[in-house]
């Protein structure tokens, strides 16, 4: 019981500090509050591991993870390039482009839209990771199969969003185009595409994390001797848990950056949307 006291004190102290800081609600304090919260979790984690002597093969301390991260940065970089840049990013871009093109194609035909959308919605809810072993069998061991998994995973969510976006212009805006007798491509390019951007980016944002998950999980079904999924499974086998967590950390950072980057581009592209103006 007594051992829990310092843990409790740190928690309450940090929480009190945050409650106080949150009242100011400026850009700086918002950042501070988030950072303090993150730091508190790390400190508590470290304390718990030390006070209760948690074996490092179960849960290494943040300090060990940090050390491993620094020590293995070359490996982490190789894995990052293999999994994130080659697997996830390539797949995501191909999947997004394909989804956008498909959305535009089926948008012209209400028949296709009615036929494809329910199926698209259905497929978007599927446990697509299940096809990872199949795609590894089809596309080989290297990043191509990971990219293929990612393509399939991100395609439908983006498609569904993009189709909704293309249909999202308000009737008045469409009528305006008609009063000007605008041809199809003009109204697509000048009205529907810009209006679809908030929806598209919604889809793009959701799928960033999906892309990472897909690329990493697919490596469990076969990979060359690099990649985050590969490293995690081998390192678990070697009981090198700090390396495992360093990979997790790298993945989380990469995922957050990826998401942040897309959100940033979204801000630039859809600067006009009320949600971005606030």
């Amino acid at each position: 019981m007594l051992t829990a006291a310092p843990i409790l004190i740190v928690w309450l102290g940090a929480w009190g500090l945050n409650t106080w800081l949150a009242r100011f609600d400026t850009r700086l304090t918002r950042l501070l509050v988030a950072l303090i919260f993150g730091a508190t979790i790390l400190i508590l984690w470290e304390m718990i591991v030390r006070i209760y002597d948690v074996p490092s093969v179960i849960l290494p301390a943040p300090s060990q993870i940090g050390a491993s991260f620094v020590e293995n940065r070359a490996i982490l970089w190789t894995d990052f390039v293999q999994t994130i840049l080659r697997g996830a990013l390539t797949g995501w871009i191909i999947g997004a482009l394909a989804a956008i093109a498909t959305a535009i194609a089926i948008d012209r035909s209400p028949f296709l839209r009615r036929g494809l959308l329910p199926i698209g919605n259905f497929v978007a809810a599927l446990p697509i990771v299940g096809i990872a072993p199949i795609l590894v069998m089809w596309f080989g061991f290297d990043w191509q199969s990971k990219a293929a998994v990612v393509v399939v995973m991100v395609f439908f969510p983006i498609l569904v969003n993009m189709v909704a976006g293309l249909a999202a212009t308000d009737p008045m805006q469409r009528d305006l185009m008609r009063t000007w007798a605008a041809p199809y491509w003009q109204s697509l390019w000048k009205l529907r595409m810009p209006a679809a951007m908030p929806f598209l980016f919604n889809g793009l944002k959701i799928t960033t994390t999906l892309a990472l998950i897909g690329a990493i999980v697919a490596e469990f079904f076969g990979s060359p001797t690099k990649g985050m999924g590969f490293r995690i499974s081998t390192a678990v086998g070697r009981l090198d848990l700090p390396l495992v967590w360093a990979e997790i950390l790298a993945a989380a950072i990469a995922g957050s950056l990826f998401y942040g980057l897309v959100a940033l581009i979204e801000k630039k592209v859809t600067f006009w949307h009320p949600s971005q103006r606030a």
């Binding site: 918002r30 072993p133 997790i248």
Partner: protein, 287 residues
Amino acid sequence: MRTALPVLTVLLAIILVWYVAAVAMNATWARDQAARADVTLSNAELVRQTLTQDRPVLPAPHQVALGLWEGLFGQKITSKRSLVWHGGITLSATMAGFAIGTLAGILLAVGIVHSRAMDQSVMPWAVASQSVPILAIAPMVIVVFASAGVTGLLPKAIIAAWLSFFPVLVGMVKGLRTPDQMQLDLMRSWNASAAQVFWRLRLPASLPYLFASLKVAVAAALVGTIVGELPAGATAGLGARLLSGSYYGQTVQIWAALFAAAILAALLVMVIGLIERLVLQRMGLAR
């Protein structure tokens, strides 16, 4: 009715493409085998063989349908070869995870809407939490929980919960914040307490958002469970079925398990949609 015809047409097109792809992808093996046996295949014979292989690269639709039928109805549902039995195991973990995730998501959202400190502390990390490749470390999660004495359905459920709490959190935060300033001001003008504002305004206003995110969350929970079962030495469930199919090169089994999972996902989403309709209808929100 208006959608039935287009959907059927698209489905038909998909099946057609699938058959063509099956022939194309399985042809290599058929030719290789013929070459090893020193015979030459006629085109018709080649097509026949590609659609009837035991370990096809891509099984033909009818093979998958047969495998699915066998798995679902071909045996007692208590049999370990029954997809119903495995589906049931996956379903129970999914539901447990979904329940935990939904509860956690709602509680966090309530906290976030009511406490600015919590909003600023938790929200950024909730986003980051979703880029943790939980699926990749699923086996480890299961081992770690096992070391804490938690075994069986719960570790899988926790992975499912991790994936499903996020959509609920996001949807609920949005939903609890939908009441506009005017509606909040009305409450204030009546001198309503915080609890009254929550139960009579925020909560009912958030329900449409909640249901929309529940549909996403339940699908996510299913993915989480299946992946939890996949490489983590789970012995039963659709994920284990997928794995063992893959392990023994039983492509038909993989596809059948995949479709069973798909059907399960569709059913779950449909059930939530049904509950949504009922609840919103009772609330007068469905027109």
